[in-house]
Symmetry: C3
Subunit: 172 residues, 3 copies
């Protein structure tokens, strides 16, 4: 079920601007939550039935679903984040997301708002001095409104790298 949608204007060009603004605002908040390792905030950006997948471009191009991360519900996304925060052992690091080239592809009353954006994640490991490109790829998204907020019903992160530098410990 879709949430409340802001009152439509007569101007479809203006509606397109508002929608783009909403998605851009969402993506900036999403990146900030991950950059600051606020993983419980990150989990709240998904709908209850959300799909969150991180997979290689190689596999995605061949239609193969297997990925580094495969979550079919918000519960699984929560588990993933919780496992990271509470149990995972990995070298401390800073991450920084740049999300660009947003394309809002369409809005459908039943299926939500489809969008895509390119992303780059830059990483600094605490025992190495320089920032490196950690992962680069594209988000294929479906957003839905819940109340007056956008949430992700689906985010498929397709990364170009053949190897992910260091273990992939954190979501993108």
């Amino acid at each position: 079920m879709l949430g409340m949608r802001p009152a439509a204007t007569n101007d479809t060009r203006l509606d397109a601007l508002f929608l783009r603004h909403e998605v851009e605002t969402f993506n900036a908040a999403y990146a900030a939550a991950l950059d600051e390792q606020r993983l419980s905030d990150w989990v709240e950006m998904f709908t209850d039935d959300a799909m969150y997948v991180v997979t290689s471009r190689e596999n995605a191009d061949r239609g193969m679903p297997v990925g580094l991360i495969y979550c079919e519900t918000k519960g699984m996304i929560f588990d993933r984040a919780f496992a990271l925060e509470k149990t995972a052992m990995f070298a401390p690091r800073y991450l920084r997301h740049i999300i660009g080239n947003l394309q809002v592809l369409g809005e459908d009353r039943n299926r939500g708002i489809r969008a895509r954006a390119n992303y780059v994640v830059l990483q600094v490991l605490f025992d190495r001095p320089v920032a490196k490109v950690h992962q680069v790829g594209v988000y294929h998204d479906v957003f839905r409104r819940v109340g007056d907020q956008l949430k992700l019903a689906e985010r498929r992160c397709v990364y170009d790298n053949l190897l992910v530098d260091n273990a992939l410990c954190l979501p993108v």
Copy 2:
């Protein structure tokens, strides 16, 4: 000849927003066409008399026109893309564009819409595991409306790199 322009609003601030939105949407579609190696789609984003140049910052700063790529018409742009798709031998790779810092500099009825944006192209070669910065620079653009769509009448890509990592095989 300029194409149809959407009806002007009384609000010049709103017009500026709409224009920016159009150019941003264009640039995201342009990047997606190149990232997905849809080169015939890429060619269609230029006007028939379009200028497409890729040149180094060193040469551009000295006013020297020589560049890695120099196309004066859409036909030459098509040939470039076609040569790449059909005949060029080069190591397979993934590219990913991030286009940011868009500046819409002005719109002139006769000369079109002038804009600029910074770009970064990240590259993954299939025989190397990591993503690297392939090229970084600035687009100097002139857009024109053809029908209800923007097209590039001119894109001058000025890159900062002194050497382009690996041969430059694909347009930016």
Copy 3:
């Protein structure tokens, strides 16, 4: 004292769009001034009482104010830029900023417009062929209107890198 603010519309969503557009336009012009080493233009983007700080994420997270650059007035910012242009000895280089993920956090009549954005600075040293990630981080900003223009009353640049590749010679 705040400058003139464009006439408010009845539509707060539209106001949010206009404000975002203003800040984005500012940031693109800011990046262009630094990329083209127009440092006197860069200085003019600050208010007279502006704070400009470049500090590490390590120090910022611990609430420690010490930074690579610490300027409390436009005069100090001017001195910094002037020292660079006239006296500093450092290897020639090209810089290219990508500013993304803008978040406009709020506007307050007295305290100005709070915003943040992620940034990446890519660098090409003239004696090395490739572009490298020079610095990556986040801007924490306060803007004020002076006349009909935005100016920075505060920009705190918090970088993730533990070491800044090569000496930090130029502002970010």
